[in-house]
Structure formats: structure tokens, C-alpha cells
């Protein structure tokens, strides 16, 4: 692998007394799709939130394109403006969508384009419409989030993140809050992005999707990476890793 786009080394993070990330190392190469799976509370969300510094971390480093995300020097937290600039390099899609309720679908996408990317109103609108079209929602451009289904809201959420042209897209259980019949339409959008070479780090419980769409699966348990590998290989050899095998037992039916 050439220089990884995202490089995490020795990452540690505690909430109070509880250490949630214990020395995590992880690389994500350009165009790679890495899926993180693992039991509840194993630190998956926290890991993703550290990557765009929604959470600070206690030790270790996170570099995107060689640049340290949250700190200018060890223990030296970057100022808010620089943090904002760094965060613009990553996109994030949330489990609960987190669309801005007072803005229409198009306006949700335009906000970052205008304020962060400094696009003109017309330019931002054109980009928003292109992306809404890509996620199959051209006809919903002027709808408010409240007027959209969960699956539609999440597709706007994805469009809002990728329209910013981030270097890495972070997706945290983006289908968990959806009714089962709406999951497919959202995963389809992610699959298309993956095929186009978008670099992604995602957390999901959709094991079959992880197997088909990702280049690598990382299994986290208790704040550590307990196993990782090429999806089919890892799933086939799961019995070599007791905790992974136990975790997967719950999903057997869904991915075999």
C-alpha cells in the first residue's frame, strides 16, 4: 500500500475512568472501504468520532493525508478554526440522520458548500441538485426533513456529506434507525459511492453488506481491534477468533 490516506496509531481514549479505545492502529488506503464491526460498547462510534475530532483523544495520532487531525503538537489542541478546516476534509453520516430541520433537503446540502467551501448560491444549488439526483431525490429538493421518510432523510444525509468532496467518508450505523424495507435504498447509494472509489470508514451491523461492499473488515472488541482481514477470508476463518465467532453467531442467518 502507498501512504495510507487515513492513518491511526496507538489511539487511546477514556471517558472518565473507563478506557474505551485501547491502543488502536488502523490504516485506510485511498479508495479503500473499511468496515468496523463489533459488539455494542466496543468503541466503534468513539473511533469514528475521533477521526473528525467530534471527540478528543488522550494518546496516539490520527493523520489524514499526513496531517494530524486534532493536535498541532502532542497535547496541543488545535484552535477551533483549524479544527473546522480539518473537519471539512472528512464527511460524516449519522445513525440518526441529523439533518437541519429548518432547512430543506437542498438547503441542508448547500449550507456547508456555501459557508465552508465558499460557493455562490447558484453554484451550491447546482451541486445540491446534482447530488440529490444521484441519490434519487431530485423531486424532494424543496422538502423539509420532516416531510421525508427515514430512508430519504438518510440519503440527503449522505448527499450532504459527499457534496463537500471529503477525502474520507465516515458512516456510523447509517441504516440502524431505518425500517427494514428502507435499508436497501440507502445501502445502494453507499455501494455506488464505493464503486466510484470514495474512501470510507464505516460501522455497520449489516454483515452481508460489509462482506460485499468493503475491501476490509475490522472487528473491534472491548476497545481493541481483535481481528481484521479481507471480508470473505475473515468471515470464513472466524472460528480462529473466539470473540468474532461468538459475535457473528448472532448474524449467521443473515449473511450465509
Amino acid at each position: 500500500m502507498t501512504d495510507p490516506l487515513l492513518s491511526i496509531r496507538g489511539l487511546r481514549k477514556s471517558f472518565g475512568e473507563i478506557e474505551v479505545l485501547k491502543d488502536v492502529d488502523l490504516d485506510v488506503g485511498r479508495g479503500e472501504v473499511v468496515t468496523v464491526i463489533g459488539p455494542s460498547g466496543s468503541g466503534k462510534t468513539t473511533l469514528l468520532r475521533c477521526v473528525n475530532f467530534l471527540e478528543s483523544y488522550d494518546a496516539g495520532s490520527i493523520r489524514i493525508d499526513g496531517e494530524e487531525v486534532g493536535f498541532s503538537a502532542p497535547g496541543q489542541r488545535r484552535n477551533e478554526r483549524t479544527l473546522a478546516r480539518m473537519r471539512a476534509e472528512t464527511g460524516m453520516v449519522f445513525q440518526s440522520f441529523n439533518l437541519f430541520p429548518h432547512l430543506t433537503a437542498a438547503e441542508n446540502i448547500m449550507l456547508g458548500l456555501r459557508k465552508v467551501r465558499r460557493k455562490s448560491r447558484d453554484e451550491a444549488r447546482a451541486i445540491a441538485e446534482t447530488w440529490l439526483d444521484r441519490v434519487g431525490l431530485a423531486h424532494k429538493a424543496d422538502s423539509l426533513p420532516a416531510e421525508l421518510s427515514g430512508g430519504q432523510q438518510q440519503r440527503v444525509g449522505i448527499a450532504r456529506a459527499v457534496a463537500m468532496e471529503p477525502k474520507v467518508l465516515l458512516l456510523d450505523e447509517i441504516t440502524s434507525a431505518l425500517d427494514p424495507e428502507l435499508v436497501g435504498e440507502v445501502l445502494e447509494v453507499v455501494r455506488a459511492l464505493a464503486a466510484e472509489g470514495m474512501t470510507m470508514l464505516m460501522v455497520t451491523h449489516e454483515i452481508a453488506f460489509a462482506r460485499d461492499a468493503s475491501s476490509r473488515i475490522v472487528f473491534m472488541a472491548d476497545g481493541r481491534i481483535a481481528a481484521e482481514g479481507e471480508p470473505r477470508e475473515l468471515l470464513a476463518n472466524a472460528d480462529d477468533y473466539p470473540r468474532l465467532a461468538a459475535f457473528l453467531a448472532r448474524f449467521r442467518a443473515s449473511y450465509f
Binding site: 473546522a84 449519522f94 423539509l144 420532516a146
Partner: protein, 223 residues
Amino acid sequence: MGYDLNFAVVWRNFDKMWGGLLLSLELAVISIAIGVLIGLVLALAHVSGGRWLRGVIAAYVETIRNVPLILLVYLVFYGLPQAVDIRYDAATSFVVTLSVYSGAYLVEVFRAGLEAIPKGQIDAGKALGLTPWQRFTSVRLPAMIRIILPALSNTFISLFKDTSVASVIAVPELTWGAQWINLNTFRIVEAYLIATAMYLVTGYLLLFLLRLLERRFRVGRHA
């Protein structure tokens, strides 16, 4: 009842009441504008500041809310010029008082609104790369306004009615106008009936304007 209603006398002096109403509105608008500024700044300081700052703000809010407005009006108009070397006319003194008074109520409204914003929305703003100021103007402020507008309408109407207290230091607002007519013509019922009607109509108009604002911010279209 041996009292004959005679509105003609009141109509002859109606300029006192009309001018009074305009002054009431002016007092309310200026005081509320300053109060909104105080409220916003202190609410932000409260949610992002340390324990010490929070204590000071809480003390301000509690003090003001536990003292009757009329007492504050007397204190600022009669008391303050004795204590320190300042002079102001009654209307200015009242605006100062009502601003500080409304600020204390508005801090609470704004603070509750800021604290009720779902954390996920702020995370979404951060994740896009918005700076703290951009997050405030584009995410938190509109979200807060949506949450508090109904409560804000009540506070604004209530503060508008509070301008009547200015009559006790002879600021010629609406209630003072009614008193003037009463004292000079003895048409007490007519004067106060008309003043009541004028407060009522103005209150409804304000409410209507605030409803327009609620539509502008798409309040209620989120469920």
C-alpha cells in the same frame, strides 16, 4: 348603576391615548431589543461558560425575577441618580429598567432553547467544518428560535403590557394617557375601557406578527 357612559370626552382627548400607545410600543421595542441582546449573550455565556460565570448570571436572573418591576422602576428613576452621578429623563430611565428586566426573563428563555437543541445537529454542523460562529448563526440560532418562538411570543406580549408600569413615573404612555383623561374629565370607566381595548388589539397584532415569524422559521413542521 347611575353611571352614563360618555365616550365623546375621551375621543376629544384621544391624541393622549394614541400618542400613549405609540410611546408604549416604542418603549417596548427598544427595551425588548436590548433585552434580547442581553439575553442572548448571557444565555451563550451560561451554556459555554464556567461555574463562576454561571453563578453570576443566575444571581442576576433570580434577583430581577424576584423583585416587582414597579420597585425596580422607582429604584432606577429615583434611587440611582442619588447614588451615582447620572441624570436621565423618565422615559430613558424606564427603558434602562425594562431592558435589564426583560434581559433576565429572556436569558431563561434562550438558555432553555439552546439546551434543548439536539446534540446531533451541532455534531452535524461540526462535521461539515463550520466554525463555532457559523455553527451559532446557521445551526444553533435557527434551531433555538424554532424551539422558543411560542414561549418568546408570550414573553414579548407580557413585556409590552409591562410598559404600563412607566405611568408611575409619569412617562406619557398609554396607561398614563388613560389616567390623564380620568383626572381631567373624570370619565374613568370610558378611559380605561378604551385603554384596555387598545392593549388588547395591539396584543393580538403582535401575536399575529409573531405567528408570521413562526411560519418563517417553519415552527411545528417537524413532527
